[in-house]
């Protein structure tokens, strides 16, 4: 029934379901995109530099004559992969440590919470920049930096969820049934903290994409010529003023569209997860 109610809300909330559909489509593009794009996203062509959008080049070409449509599509894979990996790492680490901290309390909670307080007090973007700078300009360090700066959100979420459920009936029942602390955390608390976590994940995927492109925009992280939306925007930014708006517009549009869909989906999921927000 819960499932059918969820489906019902999904159906009723057009925005959410459209967002979900677009995300599925984008994931498909991320997987199959490189197979279906009309041009090699890396191939330069001096004869076709900065062509406006046309039937041949739907999104036009960039300053090296590369097909922007192909690059935008292929970039989906990298941007999504980074976002998914980063969010997966931070979510897994964050909720595990958070749930332990919240449930067990005591000195463990004290220490981890202080550490997270320190992390929260850091200016996020600067922290991400510094981390990428430290670990070197690579996809891995963008993933690592993004997951580190997102860790506190999951930690806090899981910690509050776990702490609020410490004395809830089914945890007491679990103890009565002979479950150890670890078993209580991983069999009872974590699965039940999932709905808010899923909402957070959905919103976070969007932020992670934004973060990646932000880093790329200031020249950190992914190295060219890898197609990446942030890099494309950064490269195109200087061309906007000379009228080649398509160099910025389409990667930006792809970026906005995917972040938008993730946040819309997260919003919708939140409404479904939290019955009070329902009408």
């Amino acid at each position: 029934m819960a499932r059918s109610v969820a489906l019902y809300h999904l159906r009723r909330n057009t925005a959410t379901s459209v967002a979900a559909a677009v995300i599925v489509l984008l994931f498909l593009l991320a997987i199959f995109g490189p197979l279906i794009v009309p041009y090699d996203p890396l191939a330069t062509s001096m004869q076709e530099v900065l062509q406006p959008p046309s039937a041949e080049h739907w999104f036009g070409t960039d300053q090296l004559g590369r097909d922007i449509f192909s690059r935008v599509v292929v970039a989906t894979r990298l941007d999504f992969a980074i976002a998914v990996a980063a969010v997966a790492i931070s979510a897994l680490a964050g909720i595990s440590v958070g749930a332990m901290s919240g449930y067990l309390g005591g000195w463990l909670d004290g220490v981890t919470s202080r550490i997270v307080d320190v992390m929260m007090a850091f200016p996020l973007f600067v922290a991400a920049m510094a981390l990428v700078a430290v670990f070197g300009n690579s996809v891995q360090s963008v993933v690592l930096a993004t997951s580190i700066i997102n860790f506190p959100f999951y930690f806090r979420l899981a910690r509050i969820e776990a702490a609020s459920r410490r004395e809830i009936g089914y945890v007491e029942a679990a103890l009565i049934n002979g479950n150890s602390s670890g078993s209580v955390i991983f069999r009872f608390l974590l699965p039940n903290s999932l709905p808010p976590v899923i909402v957070q994940v959905s919103l976070n995927l969007g932020w992670a994409i934004l973060n990646t492109s932000g880093l790329a925009f200031i020249g950190l992280g992914v190295a060219p010529p890898t197609p990446e939306w942030g890099i494309m925007i950064q490269e195109g930014a200087s061309m906007m003023m000379s009228g080649e708006w398509w160099t910025v517009f389409f990667p930006g549009l792809a970026l906005v569209l995917s972040v938008f869909c993730f946040s819309l989906l997260g919003d919708g999921l939140r409404d479904i997860a939290d019955p009070r927000r329902r009408s």
Binding site: A15, R114, I115, D117, V118, M120, A121, F122, P123, L124, F125, V126, M129, A130, L131, A133, V134, G136, G206, L210, S213, G214, F217, I218, I233, A237, M240, M241, W245, V248, G252, L255, V256, L257, S258, V259, F260, F262, S263, L264, D267, R276, R277, S279
Partner: protein, 342 residues
């Protein structure tokens, strides 16, 4: 009661010290992990010999052990000495003194802008829950939340400055030809108002509009969502039902019963938004050549200029701690149930 509150505030500030210490340690370690030898960077002349570089390293104290460097750094901080910037060659504190007001003014203005947009819209959205207004607002705010500030800024510059020519040049706080009012608060608008120079006042305000809008765009969605959620929770609550049952006029219910209660969760978000605006406006500052601490510290970071980065992180952390405290105090002032966490 007053006395107790003061004690609690003092206690809270004391409790923030370990956090700040943690920030100092992490920053210190992180920044020393940065690739690049500051002595080499500083000795920018490619014609310098190894001896020259070593001499510079000694002069910068980088030949000492990291632990020793840390103790020296701590001692300096204790004396409010944040060192000198390699990039600008000035004391970091002086650099910040010149830049922080610009960042603060922009952040405050952007913050005000986002509140002015988000809060009424959130209330409206809650009042007309699930109507087309609500749906439209949610779609628009979701789009705005998805818009990277730098992209939005680019679009604004392109449309309003480049194409239409109605926006001022996206460079700095004043036009290149105008004379800045004497620095009193460091806030260009306020300083202009202080000497009654309204032309400069309006110019400074106009200059802030596009960067502030670019910064505000990310904040509108979370604020609006919290406002909407808080308002819905408040409207669904027993006390609103009771107030209606007692015939209290609708206006009064909205303004004196629902709104204050709905503002409570928004307060926390406001804190988050403001601190993000202070710490994460780097790209906007770069885009608009805004003379703030954001672009300053990014330059420092890429130039392995230790002192400004350390100071920047510390300052933002202090602002964050103060902001959290301010939000706590504000919450306690509004909500009698809210206890300042000691």
């Amino acid at each position: 009661m007053k006395h107790r509150t003061l004690r609690l505030i003092a206690w809270r500030l004391l409790m923030a010290l370990p956090i700040l210490f943690g920030v100092i340690v992490v920053t210190f370690v992180l920044i020393r992990a940065l690739p690049g030898d500051p002595a080499i960077v500083y000795a920018s002349g490619p014609n310098m010999s190894q001896e020259d570089i070593d001499a510079i390293r000694r002069a910068m104290g980088l030949d000492k052990s990291v632990f020793e460097q840390f103790l020296i750094y701590l001692n300096n901080i204790a004396h409010l000495n944040f060192g000198n910037s390699l990039v600008t060659g000035q004391p970091v504190l002086k650099d910040f003194g010149e830049r922080l007001p610009a960042t603060l003014e922009l952040a405050v203005f952007a913050f005000a802008l986002s509140l002015v947009v988000a809060l009424p819209v959130g209330v409206l959205s809650a009042l007309y829950r699930d109507s087309w207004i609500d749906q439209l607002v949610r779609v628009i705010t979701s789009v705005s939340a998805a818009m990277p500030g730098f992209f939005f800024g680019l679009i604004l510059i392109f449309i309003f400055y480049f194409l239409m020519g109605i926006a001022p040049e996206p460079i700095g706080r004043l036009s290149g030809w105008s004379i800045a009012p004497p620095t009193v608060t460091g806030f260009m608008t306020i300083d202009a108002a202080l000497i009654g120079d309204w032309e400069i006042f309006w110019e400074a305000l106009g200059k802030m509009l596009m960067p502030a809008a670019s910064m505000a765009i990310f904040a509108v969605a979370p604020l609006m969502r919290m406002m909407r959620g808080g308002m819905i929770d408040a409207l669904d609550s027993d006390y609103i039902k009771a107030a209606r049952a007692y015939g209290i006029p609708r206006r009064k219910i909205l303004l004196q019963y629902a709104l204050p209660n709905a503002m409570l969760p928004v307060l926390a978000t406001m804190g988050m938004v403001l601190s993000t605006m202070l710490g994460a406006n780097i790209m906007i500052e770069k885009l608009f050549a805004w003379p703030g601490i954001g672009s300053y510290s990014v330059n420092a970071l890429t130039g392995v200029d230790y002192a400004p980065v350390q100071a920047f992180v510390l300052i933002v952390a202090v602002l964050f701690v103060l902001m959290t405290l301010a939000i706590d105090i504000l919450s306690a002032a509004i909500d009698p149930r809210y206890k300042l966490k000691g």
